[in-house]
């Protein structure tokens, strides 16, 4: 039964993902991006990591795509020429196909057998690991976020100078 749900959510995610890149107006592609992130959160739950599913919904769908929708709404883009000319389409389709094949081969080569046996990771295990083994990346990442805030302010200040707001 869970395999059926798994495949259904997978197809749903792929459909929304393709409609992100195919929709002419960016608002509809932002909307389908939200739906595809929902599908991904469902997949993470099925892969027994609910913490990541909740973080994905909270940060990705609840903050990043909100920013996308803000910018799309404030910039009211004209969705005239949405796609590049057809040569780009052919080249990119071929490139994507080649890369996917390569990835699939690389991944299947390295299919490690289920070493530790798939056991559900409790929330406390994940949290303790974050603060014991991965403590320094965690602290460096918070420095990264402060740097991002400074960068955003620098960009916003620069936009204040340019005349036509």
């Amino acid at each position: 039964m869970t395999d059926g749900i798994f495949i259904a959510i997978g197809i749903f995610t792929l459909l929304c993902g393709s409609s992100v890149i195919l929709c002419k107006s960016p608002v509809y592609s932002a909307f389908s991006l939200i739906l595809s992130f929902f599908g991904l959160a469902g997949l993470y739950i099925l892969l027994e990591s609910p913490f990541i599913a909740v973080i994905q919904v909270l940060v990705y769908t609840g903050a990043i795509v909100v920013l996308f929708v803000y910018v799309v709404m404030l910039m009211n883009p004209n969705s005239s020429g949405a796609y590049r000319n057809w040569i780009f389409m052919i080249v990119s389709a071929f490139l994507a196909w080649a890369v996917s094949l390569y990835l699939l081969k690389a991944l299947t080569l390295g299919v490690a057998p289920a070493v530790g046996g798939a056991h559900a990771l409790s929330l406390k295990e994940v949290a303790t690991l974050l603060f014991t083994k991965y403590l320094w990346p965690f602290e460096i990442l918070s420095i990264f976020l402060v740097v991002m805030i400074v960068a955003v302010f620098a960009l916003a200040k620069q936009s204040k100078e340019t005349p036509n707001e």
């Binding site: 020429g81 798939a118 990442l141 960068a151």
Partner: protein, 103 residues
Amino acid sequence: MSNFSSVYWTQFIAIALIGLGMVGFLIRRNAIVVLMSIELMLNGVNLLLIEAAHRSGSADGTMLVVFIITIAAGEVAVGLGILLNLYRIKHSSDTELYKELQG
């Protein structure tokens, strides 16, 4: 859940997402949709990591995904900031117009 078919199915979905992101990145003219396709690719990678973490039972994959999500948040914040300044100068978000660096 870690029987044979679901391992390949997750990897197929993840790689398809990365492929979709790449196609979107190359063929779209609107800069915002280009950024969205990059997010799609990042999520494909996240899915692969979670699937590996699930299969091998260790939480390292989960940690990497948490860090990727943080960096993606920072990247979008600055990326859209740059995009807005470009929009302010060019009054359009069409990537065809951003050509000054071509020399």
